[in-house]
């Protein structure tokens, strides 16, 4: 099985194409921004009828998985050559999430950021976020946009129960727990009146990859 992860072909200068089983391709990009731009290009090509039939298009932190392809080798040979325009930002409207900055880890995060606890919410709410990818649970989006100096590690002792609506930080991401579950993110607040996932709603998920997100402090900006 040596050489298992060598690319099938289509090595662009900055894209690695990895086979995933008999019907999938994992395209690895040099970073989060490039992965988002590549994902946008995949969606554009699908809309334009330029992509072969595919069951799943799953963006990750710096990859895009295409699964359910009839002939992955053929596509593998092409994707390295695709012209991918840089990501356009700020054109579409943002989903606004009302948030109360009352999380149990607020003081810890303030310590790591080197600011007063009240400042955490102000800095968080001033950030323009974007859903990089989803996972973990239906409706859970990994939101990027936080400047690197505000990235924090996950808690060393994960909580057995994180209440639904909790807003947390981990690594380069912020996220909102769609429902109560165990979790290890640093909790800084609570989303108020927001339903991230409702199967009876169209669309069921408030967050999809590419969705812009803004947090609005409850009661307005102080």
């Amino acid at each position: 099985m040596s050489g298992a992860a060598t690319a099938l072909g289509g090595h662009g200068s900055e894209r690695v194409v990895l086979p995933v089983g008999r019907h999938g391709l994992l395209i690895e990009l040099p970073g989060a921004e490039a992965a988002e731009a590549f994902h946008a290009e995949v969606l554009r090509r699908r809309s334009a009828g330029l992509l072969p039939g595919v069951t799943e298009i799953v963006p990750g932190a710096r990859t895009v998985l295409l699964d359910g392809l009839a002939e992955p080798r053929r596509l593998a040979a092409e994707v390295g050559e695709w012209e991918v325009p840089p990501l356009e930002r700020g054109s579409e409207s943002a989903v606004e999430i009302t948030i109360r900055y009352d999380g149990p880890d607020l003081a810890d995060v303030a310590g790591m950021w080197g600011v007063a606890p009240e400042e955490v919410g102000r800095l968080h709410a001033a950030t323009s976020f974007r859903v990089a990818f989803c996972g973990f649970a239906p409706g859970f989006g990994y939101l990027t946009g936080l400047p690197e100096e505000y990235h924090v590690p996950r808690r060393s002792d994960p909580r057995t129960k994180v209440p639904a609506g909790s807003v947390g930080l981990a690594g380069p991401y912020t996220g909102v727990y769609p429902r109560s579950s165990p979790g290890g993110w640093q909790l800084i607040g609570t989303a108020v009146g927001t339903v991230l996932w409702d199967a009876a709603r169209e669309p069921a998920a408030l967050f999809a990859p590419g969705t812009r997100v803004r947090f609005v402090p409850e009661g307005g900006t102080e």
Binding site: E56, V58, R62, P138, G139, P158, A164
Partner: protein, 348 residues
């Protein structure tokens, strides 16, 4: 699930989240009083399954669906149902359901056309037809033997009991018209990882049945009644290398193919967990979250591979050493704990 970065779904098999509020069918308008199932004995784990909800992984929604898909499809074909009609998937010890004609309990309406049922009933009209496939098991209707793998009629008030799996693990019970639970994103499948779809069956739970297909059952459809080979004594799984095989040592790759693994009792609809030697990583550090395919052989930090099944997480942060092709997963669905597992490399 334990955390957004933990993609193994450990400890999440309870499926009792139920917070997505999608199981009720009370609000649905029905043209007539449909037949219903009442769970008399829910069994260890009985879920509603169909062909799942592919195409939503980018929203964090697993594919889900019947683990032994051929058995599920066969059951529907035998009844003339579409292959995506929902069936009941049992685990280990089967289940028992009472069938009623429109929620009227054991006293159904007078039969318009009495027929002899598998249970020998002549006084009540048939409400539906059923068939049991997948793991072979004893089937009874009101305590009398009924066939396995062949459709039979069920009268109002009849109790269908599907016994423990004699070989294998999961049996499929299909009914004419299918189990008509409320669909979520186009599927009625119970998803234990996400808590989507109907909750696992509980004693006393009710499930509606759909309208019978116009095509009707296909009794004696010889092409569909081939004997079931049953689970082999050893589970031989083809594995296509990649996409992160380079995260492991050459020794780890040899170990995977020679390691003498066994099915762990911690296996569930999320993944087939294995007991056996650990696979040594060549690269340390975290793998940023990436999309995971059905059948992916993911290796969490403890080093023992997990074959991801229908309710698998859609992204994960541990390297995938190989992928088991979907055709091999039906056998995985029937592998009881302790079954020896051998991986054999195949090309992509």
């Amino acid at each position: 699930m334990t955390d957004p970065a933990d993609s193994t779904g450990s400890g999440s098999s309870s499926g009792s989240t139920g917070s997505t509020g999608s199981t009720g069918s009370a609000g649905r308008a029905r043209a007539r009083a449909a037949a219903e199932l009442h769970a008399v004995r829910a069994g260890a784990l009985t879920t509603v399954q169909d062909l799942g909800r592919p195409g939503h992984a980018h929203l964090g929604v697993p594919r889900s669906g019947a683990l032994d898909e051929p058995a599920h499809r066969l059951a529907n074909r035998l009844l003339g149902n579409p292959e995506n009609a929902a069936t009941l998937e049992t685990t280990l010890d089967g289940c028992a359901v009472l069938v009623t004609a429109g929620g009227q309990g054991r006293s159904g309406p007078p039969p318009a056309d009495p027929k002899v049922t598998a249970g020998g009933e002549t006084s009540r009209g048939p409400v539906t037809e059923a068939v049991v496939t997948g793991a072979p098991c004893a089937v009874t209707v009101d305590g009398r033997p009924a066939p396995w793998g062949v459709p039979f009629r069920l009268a109002a008030g009849a109790v269908l009991d599907v016994g423990p799996a004699e070989r294998g693990l999961r049996s499929y019970i299909a009914f004419s018209g299918g189990v008509d639970a409320e669909p979520v994103l186009g599927s009625r499948a119970t998803d234990l990882l996400s808590g989507l779809g109907p909750e696992p069956l509980r004693d006393g739970a009710r499930l509606p049945l759909g309208a019978t297909s116009a095509a009707g059952p296909r009794h004696g459809a010889a092409i569909d009644t081939a004997p079931w080979a049953g689970p082999p004594g050893e589970l031989v799984l083809p594995v296509v290398p990649g996409p992160r095989a380079d995260w492991f040592t050459g020794e780890a790759l040899r170990t995977l193919l020679t390691g003498g693994y066994r099915v762990s009792s911690a296996s569930n609809r999320i993944g087939l967990r294995l007991e056996g030697p650990v696979l040594e990583r060549a690269r340390e550090g975290e793998l940023p979250s990436e999309g995971i395919a059905l059948g992916a052989l993911q290796v969490p930090p403890e080093g023992r591979p997990v074959v991801f099944l229908a309710d698998h997480p859609v992204t994960g942060g541990y390297p995938v050493i190989g992928v088991v092709p979907q055709e091999a997963l039906a056998a995985v669905a029937q592998a009881v704990p302790g079954t020896p597992v051998r991986f054999t490399p195949v090309s992509g």
